[in-house]
Symmetry: C2
Subunit: 323 residues, 2 copies
Amino acid sequence: MTRIAVDAMGGDRGPEAVVDGALAARGDGLEPILFGSASLDAKGLELWPTTQVVAMREKPADAFREKADSSLVRAVKAVADGEADAVVSAGNTGAMLAAGLVLLRRVPGVRRPAIAVPIPARQGPSVLVDAGANADCRAEHLLQFATMGAVFAEEMLEIARPQVRLLSIGVEPEKGNQLTLEAHALLAASDLDFRGNAEGRDILEGAADVLVTDGFTGNVALKAVEGTIRTLLDSLREEITASSAGTVGGLLIRPAARRLRKRLDPDTYGGAYLLGLRGLVVIAHGNSSATAIANAIRLAARGVDHDVVGRLAARLPQRAQLV
Amino acid sequence: MTRIAVDAMGGDRGPEAVVDGALAARGDGLEPILFGSASLDAKGLELWPTTQVVAMREKPADAFREKADSSLVRAVKAVADGEADAVVSAGNTGAMLAAGLVLLRRVPGVRRPAIAVPIPARQGPSVLVDAGANADCRAEHLLQFATMGAVFAEEMLEIARPQVRLLSIGVEPEKGNQLTLEAHALLAASDLDFRGNAEGRDILEGAADVLVTDGFTGNVALKAVEGTIRTLLDSLREEITASSAGTVGGLLIRPAARRLRKRLDPDTYGGAYLLGLRGLVVIAHGNSSATAIANAIRLAARGVDHDVVGRLAARLPQRAQLV
Protein backbone atom coordinates (compact mmCIF):
# COMPACT_ATOMS: atom_id res chain seq x y z
CA MET A 1 0.00 0.00 0.00
CA THR A 2 1.40 3.40 -1.06
CA ARG A 3 0.59 6.06 1.50
CA ILE A 4 0.61 9.69 0.36
CA ALA A 5 0.63 12.47 2.95
CA VAL A 6 -1.66 15.27 1.76
CA ASP A 7 -1.58 18.80 3.17
CA ALA A 8 -5.31 19.49 3.33
CA MET A 9 -4.87 23.15 4.31
CA GLY A 10 -2.62 24.10 1.36
CA GLY A 11 -3.87 25.84 -1.77
CA ASP A 12 -6.09 28.76 -2.57
CA ARG A 13 -9.34 26.85 -2.96
CA GLY A 14 -9.70 25.63 0.60
CA PRO A 15 -9.58 22.16 2.16
CA GLU A 16 -12.67 20.82 0.41
CA ALA A 17 -11.03 20.74 -3.02
CA VAL A 18 -8.05 18.92 -1.50
CA VAL A 19 -10.23 16.39 0.34
CA ASP A 20 -12.25 15.73 -2.82
CA GLY A 21 -9.05 15.29 -4.82
CA ALA A 22 -7.65 12.87 -2.26
CA LEU A 23 -10.91 10.93 -2.28
CA ALA A 24 -10.79 10.66 -6.07
CA ALA A 25 -7.19 9.48 -6.03
CA ARG A 26 -7.78 6.82 -3.37
CA GLY A 27 -7.80 3.44 -4.99
CA ASP A 28 -6.04 0.17 -5.58
CA GLY A 29 -2.96 0.28 -3.42
CA LEU A 30 -3.12 4.05 -2.91
CA GLU A 31 -4.12 5.54 0.43
CA PRO A 32 -4.03 9.32 0.93
CA ILE A 33 -3.58 10.53 4.51
CA LEU A 34 -4.91 13.99 5.20
CA PHE A 35 -3.19 16.52 7.47
CA GLY A 36 -5.38 19.38 8.59
CA SER A 37 -7.81 20.86 11.08
CA ALA A 38 -9.60 18.34 13.33
CA SER A 39 -12.89 19.99 12.33
CA LEU A 40 -12.38 19.03 8.69
CA ASP A 41 -14.88 16.73 6.99
CA ALA A 42 -12.43 14.03 5.90
CA LYS A 43 -15.14 12.11 4.04
CA GLY A 44 -13.91 8.80 5.35
CA LEU A 45 -10.21 9.37 4.71
CA GLU A 46 -7.61 9.08 7.43
CA LEU A 47 -7.10 12.52 9.03
CA TRP A 48 -4.18 13.49 11.22
CA PRO A 49 -5.25 16.61 13.08
CA THR A 50 -2.94 19.64 13.01
CA THR A 51 -3.41 23.04 14.61
CA GLN A 52 -1.51 25.47 12.40
CA VAL A 53 -1.62 26.65 8.78
CA VAL A 54 1.23 28.02 6.67
CA ALA A 55 0.02 30.94 4.53
CA MET A 56 0.98 31.22 0.86
CA ARG A 57 3.00 34.43 1.25
CA GLU A 58 4.63 33.52 4.55
CA LYS A 59 8.43 33.57 4.66
CA PRO A 60 9.56 29.95 4.25
CA ALA A 61 12.15 29.87 7.03
CA ASP A 62 9.81 31.54 9.54
CA ALA A 63 6.93 29.27 8.57
CA PHE A 64 9.00 26.18 9.09
CA ARG A 65 10.48 27.35 12.39
CA GLU A 66 7.30 28.66 13.95
CA LYS A 67 4.74 26.20 12.66
CA ALA A 68 5.86 22.73 13.63
CA ASP A 69 2.23 21.68 13.99
CA SER A 70 1.12 23.04 10.63
CA SER A 71 -0.49 20.68 8.12
CA LEU A 72 2.41 21.37 5.70
CA VAL A 73 5.24 20.61 8.13
CA ARG A 74 3.46 17.60 9.64
CA ALA A 75 2.79 16.13 6.18
CA VAL A 76 6.47 16.38 5.28
CA LYS A 77 7.42 14.97 8.68
CA ALA A 78 5.18 11.95 8.08
CA VAL A 79 7.43 11.01 5.14
CA ALA A 80 10.56 11.58 7.23
CA ASP A 81 9.11 9.33 9.95
CA GLY A 82 8.16 6.59 7.51
CA GLU A 83 4.43 7.10 8.07
CA ALA A 84 3.95 8.05 4.43
CA ASP A 85 5.88 7.42 1.20
CA ALA A 86 5.50 10.83 -0.42
CA VAL A 87 3.89 14.19 0.29
CA VAL A 88 1.62 16.44 -1.77
CA SER A 89 0.83 20.06 -0.98
CA ALA A 90 -0.69 22.91 -2.96
CA GLY A 91 0.76 25.28 -0.38
CA ASN A 92 3.81 27.51 0.02
CA THR A 93 6.62 26.21 -2.25
CA GLY A 94 9.42 27.81 -0.24
CA ALA A 95 8.11 26.33 3.00
CA MET A 96 7.88 22.88 1.39
CA LEU A 97 11.48 23.24 0.24
CA ALA A 98 12.63 24.34 3.69
CA ALA A 99 10.74 21.53 5.43
CA GLY A 100 11.99 18.99 2.89
CA LEU A 101 15.62 20.01 3.28
CA VAL A 102 15.54 19.84 7.07
CA LEU A 103 13.16 16.93 7.73
CA LEU A 104 13.76 14.65 4.75
CA ARG A 105 17.36 15.62 4.04
CA ARG A 106 19.18 15.10 0.78
CA VAL A 107 19.80 11.84 -1.02
CA PRO A 108 23.49 10.96 -0.51
CA GLY A 109 25.47 12.47 -3.39
CA VAL A 110 22.95 15.21 -4.11
CA ARG A 111 24.42 18.67 -3.67
CA ARG A 112 21.25 20.66 -4.25
CA PRO A 113 17.66 19.46 -4.51
CA ALA A 114 15.94 20.98 -7.53
CA ILE A 115 12.40 21.69 -8.69
CA ALA A 116 11.36 19.74 -11.77
CA VAL A 117 8.29 21.00 -13.65
CA PRO A 118 6.76 18.89 -16.42
CA ILE A 119 5.76 21.14 -19.33
CA PRO A 120 3.00 20.13 -21.76
CA ALA A 121 5.10 21.11 -24.77
CA ARG A 122 3.77 20.90 -28.30
CA GLN A 123 6.00 17.99 -29.24
CA GLY A 124 5.24 16.06 -26.05
CA PRO A 125 5.99 16.37 -22.35
CA SER A 126 9.27 17.90 -21.32
CA VAL A 127 10.69 18.51 -17.86
CA LEU A 128 12.28 21.83 -16.87
CA VAL A 129 14.79 21.57 -14.02
CA ASP A 130 15.64 23.62 -11.90
CA ALA A 131 12.49 25.71 -12.00
CA GLY A 132 13.27 27.75 -8.91
CA ALA A 133 14.91 26.02 -5.95
CA ASN A 134 18.47 27.34 -6.52
CA ALA A 135 18.84 30.95 -7.64
CA ASP A 136 22.64 30.72 -7.80
CA CYS A 137 24.22 27.57 -9.21
CA ARG A 138 27.53 26.13 -10.29
CA ALA A 139 28.04 23.97 -13.37
CA GLU A 140 28.21 20.71 -11.39
CA HIS A 141 24.80 21.49 -9.92
CA LEU A 142 23.40 21.74 -13.42
CA LEU A 143 24.90 18.35 -14.28
CA GLN A 144 23.11 16.88 -11.26
CA PHE A 145 19.85 18.61 -12.21
CA ALA A 146 20.15 17.05 -15.66
CA THR A 147 20.70 13.60 -14.17
CA MET A 148 17.78 13.95 -11.78
CA GLY A 149 15.63 15.30 -14.65
CA ALA A 150 16.56 12.30 -16.79
CA VAL A 151 15.54 9.84 -14.03
CA PHE A 152 12.30 11.79 -13.64
CA ALA A 153 11.60 11.69 -17.40
CA GLU A 154 12.30 7.94 -17.50
CA GLU A 155 10.21 6.96 -14.50
CA MET A 156 7.43 9.55 -14.48
CA LEU A 157 7.00 10.52 -18.13
CA GLU A 158 7.92 7.07 -19.49
CA ILE A 159 10.60 8.32 -21.86
CA ALA A 160 13.07 5.51 -22.47
CA ARG A 161 16.29 7.43 -23.15
CA PRO A 162 15.60 11.09 -22.43
CA GLN A 163 17.31 13.72 -24.55
CA VAL A 164 18.77 16.53 -22.51
CA ARG A 165 19.34 20.13 -23.56
CA LEU A 166 20.80 23.12 -21.76
CA LEU A 167 18.76 26.34 -21.76
CA SER A 168 20.96 29.06 -23.23
CA ILE A 169 20.97 32.03 -25.61
CA GLY A 170 21.90 30.26 -28.84
CA VAL A 171 22.19 26.70 -30.09
CA GLU A 172 25.91 26.99 -30.75
CA PRO A 173 28.01 25.50 -27.90
CA GLU A 174 29.95 28.76 -27.51
CA LYS A 175 26.79 30.78 -26.88
CA GLY A 176 25.91 31.32 -23.24
CA ASN A 177 27.16 32.75 -19.98
CA GLN A 178 30.04 31.47 -17.86
CA LEU A 179 27.75 29.02 -16.07
CA THR A 180 26.26 27.47 -19.20
CA LEU A 181 29.62 27.26 -20.98
CA GLU A 182 31.01 25.23 -18.09
CA ALA A 183 27.83 23.18 -17.74
CA HIS A 184 27.85 22.49 -21.47
CA ALA A 185 31.30 20.91 -21.18
CA LEU A 186 30.26 18.76 -18.19
CA LEU A 187 27.06 17.63 -19.90
CA ALA A 188 28.89 16.79 -23.13
CA ALA A 189 31.34 14.64 -21.16
CA SER A 190 28.59 12.84 -19.20
CA ASP A 191 26.80 9.67 -20.24
CA LEU A 192 23.51 11.52 -20.59
CA ASP A 193 22.02 11.81 -24.07
CA PHE A 194 23.02 15.48 -24.27
CA ARG A 195 21.89 17.27 -27.43
CA GLY A 196 23.38 20.71 -26.85
CA ASN A 197 21.74 24.06 -26.14
CA ALA A 198 18.11 25.06 -26.47
CA GLU A 199 16.65 28.56 -26.44
CA GLY A 200 13.71 30.22 -24.72
CA ARG A 201 11.55 29.68 -27.80
CA ASP A 202 11.96 25.91 -27.45
CA ILE A 203 10.35 25.67 -24.00
CA LEU A 204 6.71 25.39 -25.09
CA GLU A 205 7.57 24.00 -28.52
CA GLY A 206 9.43 21.12 -26.83
CA ALA A 207 13.02 20.77 -27.95
CA ALA A 208 14.10 18.18 -25.40
CA ASP A 209 12.78 15.70 -22.87
CA VAL A 210 14.84 17.38 -20.16
CA LEU A 211 15.63 21.09 -20.26
CA VAL A 212 18.26 21.96 -17.68
CA THR A 213 18.98 25.41 -16.26
CA ASP A 214 19.71 27.24 -13.02
CA GLY A 215 16.76 28.00 -10.75
CA PHE A 216 16.77 31.73 -11.48
CA THR A 217 16.62 31.41 -15.26
CA GLY A 218 14.24 28.47 -15.01
CA ASN A 219 11.81 30.34 -12.81
CA VAL A 220 11.87 33.49 -14.97
CA ALA A 221 11.43 31.41 -18.14
CA LEU A 222 8.63 29.24 -16.75
CA LYS A 223 6.68 32.26 -15.56
CA ALA A 224 7.33 33.98 -18.91
CA VAL A 225 5.75 31.03 -20.72
CA GLU A 226 2.80 30.76 -18.29
CA GLY A 227 2.23 34.52 -18.28
CA THR A 228 2.41 34.79 -22.07
CA ILE A 229 -0.19 32.03 -22.48
CA ARG A 230 -2.53 33.81 -20.08
CA THR A 231 -2.01 37.31 -21.51
CA LEU A 232 -2.35 36.09 -25.08
CA LEU A 233 -5.58 34.16 -24.47
CA ASP A 234 -7.04 37.08 -22.50
CA SER A 235 -6.11 39.51 -25.27
CA LEU A 236 -7.58 37.25 -27.92
CA ARG A 237 -10.84 37.03 -25.98
CA GLU A 238 -10.95 40.83 -25.73
CA GLU A 239 -10.41 41.27 -29.45
CA ILE A 240 -12.95 38.57 -30.33
CA THR A 241 -15.73 39.97 -28.18
CA ALA A 242 -15.16 43.47 -29.56
CA SER A 243 -17.35 42.69 -32.61
CA SER A 244 -20.52 40.64 -33.01
CA ALA A 245 -19.12 38.53 -35.87
CA GLY A 246 -16.13 37.87 -33.64
CA THR A 247 -18.41 36.88 -30.76
CA VAL A 248 -20.20 34.33 -32.94
CA GLY A 249 -16.84 33.06 -34.19
CA GLY A 250 -15.68 32.85 -30.60
CA LEU A 251 -18.59 30.55 -29.75
CA LEU A 252 -17.76 28.33 -32.72
CA ILE A 253 -14.09 28.00 -31.77
CA ARG A 254 -14.86 27.43 -28.11
CA PRO A 255 -14.43 23.63 -28.25
CA ALA A 256 -11.07 24.12 -30.02
CA ALA A 257 -9.96 26.65 -27.43
CA ARG A 258 -11.03 24.25 -24.68
CA ARG A 259 -9.03 21.39 -26.22
CA LEU A 260 -6.01 23.67 -26.43
CA ARG A 261 -6.39 24.81 -22.84
CA LYS A 262 -6.64 21.19 -21.76
CA ARG A 263 -3.52 20.30 -23.74
CA LEU A 264 -1.61 23.14 -22.11
CA ASP A 265 -3.02 22.56 -18.64
CA PRO A 266 -0.10 22.33 -16.20
CA ASP A 267 -2.32 20.32 -13.82
CA THR A 268 -2.05 17.34 -16.18
CA TYR A 269 1.28 16.61 -14.58
CA GLY A 270 0.29 17.40 -11.03
CA GLY A 271 2.60 20.36 -10.47
CA ALA A 272 6.22 20.69 -9.48
CA TYR A 273 8.46 17.94 -8.11
CA LEU A 274 11.16 18.50 -5.57
CA LEU A 275 13.92 16.08 -6.53
CA GLY A 276 16.97 15.04 -4.55
CA LEU A 277 15.40 14.53 -1.14
CA ARG A 278 14.90 11.21 0.67
CA GLY A 279 11.22 11.24 -0.14
CA LEU A 280 9.20 12.52 -3.05
CA VAL A 281 7.71 15.99 -2.60
CA VAL A 282 5.03 17.19 -5.00
CA ILE A 283 3.99 20.83 -4.99
CA ALA A 284 0.65 21.26 -6.76
CA HIS A 285 -0.39 24.65 -8.15
CA GLY A 286 -1.77 27.03 -5.54
CA ASN A 287 -5.16 27.17 -7.26
CA SER A 288 -5.40 23.42 -7.84
CA SER A 289 -8.82 21.94 -8.42
CA ALA A 290 -9.83 18.58 -6.95
CA THR A 291 -8.83 16.97 -10.25
CA ALA A 292 -5.40 18.58 -10.14
CA ILE A 293 -4.90 17.39 -6.56
CA ALA A 294 -5.97 13.88 -7.56
CA ASN A 295 -3.45 13.92 -10.44
CA ALA A 296 -0.71 15.15 -8.13
CA ILE A 297 -1.44 12.36 -5.63
CA ARG A 298 -1.50 9.69 -8.36
CA LEU A 299 1.77 10.96 -9.78
CA ALA A 300 3.35 10.99 -6.35
CA ALA A 301 2.25 7.36 -5.93
CA ARG A 302 3.69 6.54 -9.32
CA GLY A 303 6.98 8.11 -8.24
CA VAL A 304 6.96 5.88 -5.16
CA ASP A 305 6.12 2.74 -7.13
CA HIS A 306 8.92 3.48 -9.60
CA ASP A 307 11.29 4.23 -6.75
CA VAL A 308 12.33 7.58 -8.20
CA VAL A 309 14.18 8.46 -5.01
CA GLY A 310 16.10 5.17 -4.98
CA ARG A 311 17.01 5.52 -8.65
CA LEU A 312 18.28 9.04 -8.12
CA ALA A 313 20.44 7.78 -5.29
CA ALA A 314 21.77 4.98 -7.49
CA ARG A 315 22.57 7.27 -10.41
CA LEU A 316 24.01 10.30 -8.72
CA PRO A 317 27.10 9.15 -6.85
CA GLN A 318 28.41 7.57 -10.06
CA ARG A 319 28.19 10.89 -11.76
CA ALA A 320 29.66 12.81 -8.89
CA GLN A 321 32.94 11.14 -9.73
CA LEU A 322 32.85 12.71 -13.17
CA VAL A 323 32.95 16.19 -11.77
CA MET B 1 18.85 66.41 -42.63
CA THR B 2 19.06 63.12 -40.69
CA ARG B 3 21.04 60.54 -42.60
CA ILE B 4 20.47 56.87 -41.75
CA ALA B 5 22.93 54.24 -42.99
CA VAL B 6 20.98 51.16 -44.09
CA ASP B 7 22.55 47.74 -44.57
CA ALA B 8 20.77 46.66 -47.75
CA MET B 9 22.17 43.13 -47.70
CA GLY B 10 21.01 42.29 -44.15
CA GLY B 11 17.90 40.27 -43.40
CA ASP B 12 16.32 37.09 -44.65
CA ARG B 13 14.06 38.64 -47.27
CA GLY B 14 16.75 39.98 -49.58
CA PRO B 15 17.76 43.51 -50.54
CA GLU B 16 14.52 44.44 -52.27
CA ALA B 17 12.50 44.51 -49.03
CA VAL B 18 15.19 46.70 -47.47
CA VAL B 19 15.31 49.09 -50.43
CA ASP B 20 11.51 49.37 -50.46
CA GLY B 21 11.50 50.03 -46.73
CA ALA B 22 14.16 52.72 -47.08
CA LEU B 23 12.21 54.32 -49.91
CA ALA B 24 9.06 54.38 -47.77
CA ALA B 25 10.90 55.93 -44.84
CA ARG B 26 12.54 58.66 -46.92
CA GLY B 27 10.84 61.93 -46.29
CA ASP B 28 10.93 65.32 -44.64
CA GLY B 29 14.41 65.65 -43.25
CA LEU B 30 15.15 61.90 -43.44
CA GLU B 31 17.56 60.50 -46.00
CA PRO B 32 18.42 56.77 -45.98
CA ILE B 33 21.79 55.82 -47.48
CA LEU B 34 22.01 52.26 -48.76
CA PHE B 35 25.07 50.06 -48.38
CA GLY B 36 25.13 47.03 -50.67
CA SER B 37 26.08 45.44 -53.94
CA ALA B 38 26.75 47.87 -56.82
CA SER B 39 24.33 45.85 -58.94
CA LEU B 40 21.45 46.68 -56.61
CA ASP B 41 18.44 48.61 -57.89
CA ALA B 42 18.56 51.49 -55.42
CA LYS B 43 15.36 53.03 -56.81
CA GLY B 44 16.80 56.52 -56.70
CA LEU B 45 18.30 56.30 -53.19
CA GLU B 46 21.95 56.99 -52.50
CA LEU B 47 23.90 53.71 -52.73
CA TRP B 48 27.40 53.16 -51.41
CA PRO B 49 28.70 50.04 -53.14
CA THR B 50 30.16 47.27 -50.99
CA THR B 51 31.60 43.91 -52.05
CA GLN B 52 31.00 41.58 -49.09
CA VAL B 53 28.01 40.23 -47.16
CA VAL B 54 27.92 39.05 -43.55
CA ALA B 55 25.79 35.91 -43.24
CA MET B 56 23.22 35.56 -40.43
CA ARG B 57 24.96 32.60 -38.76
CA GLU B 58 28.52 33.83 -39.23
CA LYS B 59 30.63 34.19 -36.10
CA PRO B 60 30.53 37.86 -35.15
CA ALA B 61 34.24 38.36 -34.48
CA ASP B 62 35.26 36.59 -37.71
CA ALA B 63 32.69 38.49 -39.73
CA PHE B 64 33.91 41.80 -38.45
CA ARG B 65 37.60 40.97 -38.93
CA GLU B 66 37.34 39.43 -42.36
CA LYS B 67 34.63 41.52 -43.96
CA ALA B 68 35.70 45.13 -43.74
CA ASP B 69 33.95 45.83 -47.04
CA SER B 70 30.68 44.19 -46.09
CA SER B 71 27.49 46.22 -46.22
CA LEU B 72 27.08 45.72 -42.46
CA VAL B 73 30.54 46.90 -41.42
CA ARG B 74 30.56 49.78 -43.92
CA ALA B 75 27.15 51.00 -42.71
CA VAL B 76 28.38 51.07 -39.11
CA LYS B 77 31.61 52.76 -40.23
CA ALA B 78 29.59 55.48 -41.97
CA VAL B 79 28.23 56.50 -38.56
CA ALA B 80 31.71 56.39 -37.03
CA ASP B 81 33.00 58.62 -39.85
CA GLY B 82 30.18 61.11 -39.48
CA GLU B 83 28.70 60.23 -42.89
CA ALA B 84 25.49 59.06 -41.26
CA ASP B 85 23.73 59.71 -37.93
CA ALA B 86 22.53 56.20 -37.17
CA VAL B 87 22.60 52.74 -38.71
CA VAL B 88 19.87 50.17 -39.36
CA SER B 89 20.48 46.52 -40.24
CA ALA B 90 18.31 43.42 -40.27
CA GLY B 91 21.49 41.37 -40.32
CA ASN B 92 23.67 39.49 -37.83
CA THR B 93 23.13 40.95 -34.33
CA GLY B 94 26.48 39.77 -32.97
CA ALA B 95 28.35 41.27 -35.92
CA MET B 96 26.53 44.58 -35.42
CA LEU B 97 27.51 44.52 -31.78
CA ALA B 98 31.16 43.74 -32.61
CA ALA B 99 31.31 46.42 -35.31
CA GLY B 100 29.59 48.94 -33.05
CA LEU B 101 31.96 48.33 -30.15
CA VAL B 102 35.09 48.69 -32.29
CA LEU B 103 34.07 51.35 -34.80
CA LEU B 104 31.66 53.53 -32.83
CA ARG B 105 33.06 52.92 -29.37
CA ARG B 106 31.25 53.44 -26.11
CA VAL B 107 29.77 56.65 -24.81
CA PRO B 108 32.07 57.93 -22.04
CA GLY B 109 30.87 56.50 -18.74
CA VAL B 110 29.19 53.48 -20.31
CA ARG B 111 30.70 50.22 -19.13
CA ARG B 112 28.72 47.88 -21.35
CA PRO B 113 26.46 48.69 -24.27
CA ALA B 114 23.16 46.83 -23.99
CA ILE B 115 20.38 45.71 -26.27
CA ALA B 116 17.03 47.37 -25.59
CA VAL B 117 13.96 45.69 -27.07
CA PRO B 118 10.60 47.47 -26.95
CA ILE B 119 7.84 45.00 -26.09
CA PRO B 120 4.23 45.59 -27.13
CA ALA B 121 2.94 44.66 -23.69
CA ARG B 122 -0.75 44.54 -22.90
CA GLN B 123 -0.64 47.61 -20.67
CA GLY B 124 1.43 49.62 -23.17
CA PRO B 125 4.95 49.59 -24.53
CA SER B 126 7.72 48.46 -22.26
CA VAL B 127 11.45 48.20 -22.90
CA LEU B 128 13.47 45.12 -21.92
CA VAL B 129 17.17 45.80 -21.37
CA ASP B 130 19.63 43.96 -21.70
CA ALA B 131 18.06 41.54 -24.17
CA GLY B 132 21.27 39.78 -25.07
CA ALA B 133 24.47 41.82 -25.40
CA ASN B 134 26.01 40.84 -22.06
CA ALA B 135 25.66 37.24 -20.91
CA ASP B 136 27.54 37.87 -17.67
CA CYS B 137 26.87 41.06 -15.76
CA ARG B 138 27.59 42.80 -12.49
CA ALA B 139 25.05 44.80 -10.52
CA GLU B 140 26.48 48.16 -11.63
CA HIS B 141 25.96 47.12 -15.23
CA LEU B 142 22.29 46.54 -14.50
CA LEU B 143 22.04 50.00 -12.97
CA GLN B 144 23.45 51.44 -16.19
CA PHE B 145 21.11 49.34 -18.31
CA ALA B 146 18.20 50.73 -16.27
CA THR B 147 19.40 54.29 -16.83
CA MET B 148 19.86 53.76 -20.56
CA GLY B 149 16.46 52.07 -20.71
CA ALA B 150 14.84 55.01 -18.93
CA VAL B 151 16.37 57.49 -21.42
CA PHE B 152 15.15 55.25 -24.25
CA ALA B 153 11.63 55.08 -22.80
CA GLU B 154 11.53 58.86 -22.36
CA GLU B 155 12.81 59.78 -25.81
CA MET B 156 11.62 56.92 -28.00
CA LEU B 157 8.45 55.72 -26.32
CA GLU B 158 7.44 59.17 -25.01
CA ILE B 159 7.00 58.06 -21.41
CA ALA B 160 7.51 61.07 -19.15
CA ARG B 161 8.86 59.45 -15.97
CA PRO B 162 9.48 55.78 -16.75
CA GLN B 163 8.89 53.24 -14.01
CA VAL B 164 11.68 50.72 -13.72
CA ARG B 165 11.46 47.15 -12.48
CA LEU B 166 14.05 44.43 -12.07
CA LEU B 167 13.31 41.02 -13.59
CA SER B 168 13.54 38.45 -10.79
CA ILE B 169 11.85 35.38 -9.32
CA GLY B 170 9.46 37.04 -6.91
CA VAL B 171 8.19 40.53 -6.18
CA GLU B 172 9.66 40.59 -2.68
CA PRO B 173 13.02 42.45 -2.53
CA GLU B 174 14.73 39.44 -0.95
CA LYS B 175 13.77 37.14 -3.84
CA GLY B 176 16.42 36.70 -6.52
CA ASN B 177 19.97 35.63 -7.17
CA GLN B 178 23.16 37.31 -5.98
CA LEU B 179 23.16 39.60 -9.01
CA THR B 180 19.58 40.82 -8.63
CA LEU B 181 19.88 41.27 -4.86
CA GLU B 182 22.83 43.60 -5.39
CA ALA B 183 21.21 45.31 -8.36
CA HIS B 184 18.02 45.80 -6.35
CA ALA B 185 19.96 47.74 -3.71
CA LEU B 186 21.68 49.93 -6.33
CA LEU B 187 18.41 50.62 -8.15
CA ALA B 188 16.60 51.45 -4.90
CA ALA B 189 19.34 53.98 -4.05
CA SER B 190 19.32 55.57 -7.52
CA ASP B 191 17.17 58.49 -8.64
CA LEU B 192 15.30 56.29 -11.10
CA ASP B 193 11.61 55.65 -10.44
CA PHE B 194 12.37 52.11 -9.27
CA ARG B 195 9.31 50.03 -8.41
CA GLY B 196 10.94 46.79 -7.28
CA ASN B 197 10.99 43.35 -8.85
CA ALA B 198 8.89 41.96 -11.65
CA GLU B 199 8.48 38.32 -12.69
CA GLY B 200 8.52 36.49 -16.00
CA ARG B 201 4.73 36.61 -16.17
CA ASP B 202 4.85 40.43 -16.22
CA ILE B 203 6.86 40.70 -19.45
CA LEU B 204 3.97 40.56 -21.93
CA GLU B 205 1.43 41.83 -19.42
CA GLY B 206 3.54 44.97 -18.95
CA ALA B 207 4.45 45.62 -15.35
CA ALA B 208 6.91 48.44 -15.97
CA ASP B 209 8.07 50.91 -18.60
CA VAL B 210 11.61 49.61 -18.25
CA LEU B 211 12.35 46.00 -17.31
CA VAL B 212 16.01 45.54 -16.46
CA THR B 213 17.94 42.27 -16.45
CA ASP B 214 21.23 40.72 -17.48
CA GLY B 215 21.64 39.79 -21.15
CA PHE B 216 21.42 36.04 -20.53
CA THR B 217 18.14 36.13 -18.63
CA GLY B 218 16.78 38.83 -20.93
CA ASN B 219 17.51 36.82 -24.05
CA VAL B 220 16.04 33.59 -22.65
CA ALA B 221 12.94 35.43 -21.41
CA LEU B 222 12.39 37.39 -24.64
CA LYS B 223 12.66 34.25 -26.74
CA ALA B 224 10.37 32.42 -24.28
CA VAL B 225 7.70 35.10 -24.80
CA GLU B 226 8.13 35.21 -28.59
CA GLY B 227 8.21 31.42 -28.88
CA THR B 228 5.17 30.96 -26.67
CA ILE B 229 3.15 33.42 -28.77
CA ARG B 230 4.10 31.55 -31.93
CA THR B 231 3.53 28.04 -30.53
CA LEU B 232 0.23 29.03 -28.95
CA LEU B 233 -1.18 30.68 -32.09
CA ASP B 234 -0.02 27.73 -34.23
CA SER B 235 -1.62 25.26 -31.81
CA LEU B 236 -4.85 27.26 -31.72
CA ARG B 237 -4.99 27.25 -35.54
CA GLU B 238 -4.48 23.48 -35.56
CA GLU B 239 -7.28 22.93 -33.07
CA ILE B 240 -9.63 25.32 -34.87
CA THR B 241 -9.19 23.78 -38.30
CA ALA B 242 -9.70 20.27 -36.88
CA SER B 243 -13.51 20.70 -37.09
CA SER B 244 -15.74 22.42 -39.65
CA ALA B 245 -17.58 24.51 -37.04
CA GLY B 246 -14.16 25.56 -35.79
CA THR B 247 -13.08 26.48 -39.30
CA VAL B 248 -16.11 28.74 -39.77
CA GLY B 249 -15.49 30.24 -36.35
CA GLY B 250 -11.86 30.76 -37.34
CA LEU B 251 -12.94 32.81 -40.36
CA LEU B 252 -15.21 34.95 -38.17
CA ILE B 253 -12.50 35.67 -35.61
CA ARG B 254 -9.88 36.37 -38.28
CA PRO B 255 -10.17 40.18 -38.02
CA ALA B 256 -9.79 39.91 -34.24
CA ALA B 257 -6.78 37.62 -34.58
CA ARG B 258 -5.29 40.05 -37.08
CA ARG B 259 -5.78 43.00 -34.70
CA LEU B 260 -4.13 41.01 -31.95
CA ARG B 261 -1.20 40.02 -34.16
CA LYS B 262 -0.79 43.65 -35.14
CA ARG B 263 -0.87 44.73 -31.50
CA LEU B 264 1.80 42.17 -30.63
CA ASP B 265 3.89 42.75 -33.75
CA PRO B 266 7.47 43.41 -32.66
CA ASP B 267 8.06 45.29 -35.92
CA THR B 268 5.92 48.13 -34.58
CA TYR B 269 8.97 49.29 -32.70
CA GLY B 270 11.51 48.59 -35.41
CA GLY B 271 13.47 45.91 -33.59
CA ALA B 272 16.28 46.04 -31.08
CA TYR B 273 18.36 49.05 -30.09
CA LEU B 274 21.99 48.91 -29.19
CA LEU B 275 22.42 51.55 -26.50
CA GLY B 276 25.61 53.01 -25.06
CA LEU B 277 27.58 53.52 -28.28
CA ARG B 278 28.50 56.85 -29.86
CA GLY B 279 25.86 56.41 -32.52
CA LEU B 280 22.46 54.79 -32.55
CA VAL B 281 22.40 51.20 -33.84
CA VAL B 282 19.07 49.60 -34.72
CA ILE B 283 18.88 45.88 -35.37
CA ALA B 284 15.67 45.01 -37.20
CA HIS B 285 14.26 41.46 -37.10
CA GLY B 286 15.95 39.11 -39.55
CA ASN B 287 12.71 38.52 -41.44
CA SER B 288 11.74 42.18 -41.54
CA SER B 289 9.26 43.28 -44.18
CA ALA B 290 9.63 46.58 -46.04
CA THR B 291 7.22 48.11 -43.50
CA ALA B 292 9.33 46.86 -40.59
CA ILE B 293 12.48 48.29 -42.18
CA ALA B 294 10.71 51.62 -42.73
CA ASN B 295 9.63 51.68 -39.06
CA ALA B 296 13.16 50.87 -37.94
CA ILE B 297 14.59 53.69 -40.07
CA ARG B 298 12.00 56.19 -38.81
CA LEU B 299 12.68 55.19 -35.21
CA ALA B 300 16.41 55.51 -35.74
CA ALA B 301 15.81 59.02 -37.11
CA ARG B 302 13.64 59.79 -34.11
CA GLY B 303 16.47 58.65 -31.87
CA VAL B 304 18.82 61.01 -33.67
CA ASP B 305 16.39 63.95 -33.49
CA HIS B 306 15.87 63.34 -29.76
CA ASP B 307 19.62 63.01 -29.27
CA VAL B 308 19.30 59.72 -27.41
CA VAL B 309 23.06 59.21 -27.54
CA GLY B 310 23.77 62.67 -26.15
CA ARG B 311 21.22 62.23 -23.39
CA LEU B 312 22.69 58.89 -22.40
CA ALA B 313 26.10 60.53 -22.20
CA ALA B 314 24.68 63.32 -20.05
CA ARG B 315 22.88 60.98 -17.67
CA LEU B 316 25.40 58.19 -17.19
CA PRO B 317 28.49 59.77 -15.67
CA GLN B 318 26.32 61.29 -12.92
CA ARG B 319 25.11 57.85 -12.01
CA ALA B 320 28.51 56.25 -12.23
CA GLN B 321 29.41 58.22 -9.12
CA LEU B 322 26.69 56.48 -7.21
CA VAL B 323 28.31 53.11 -7.67
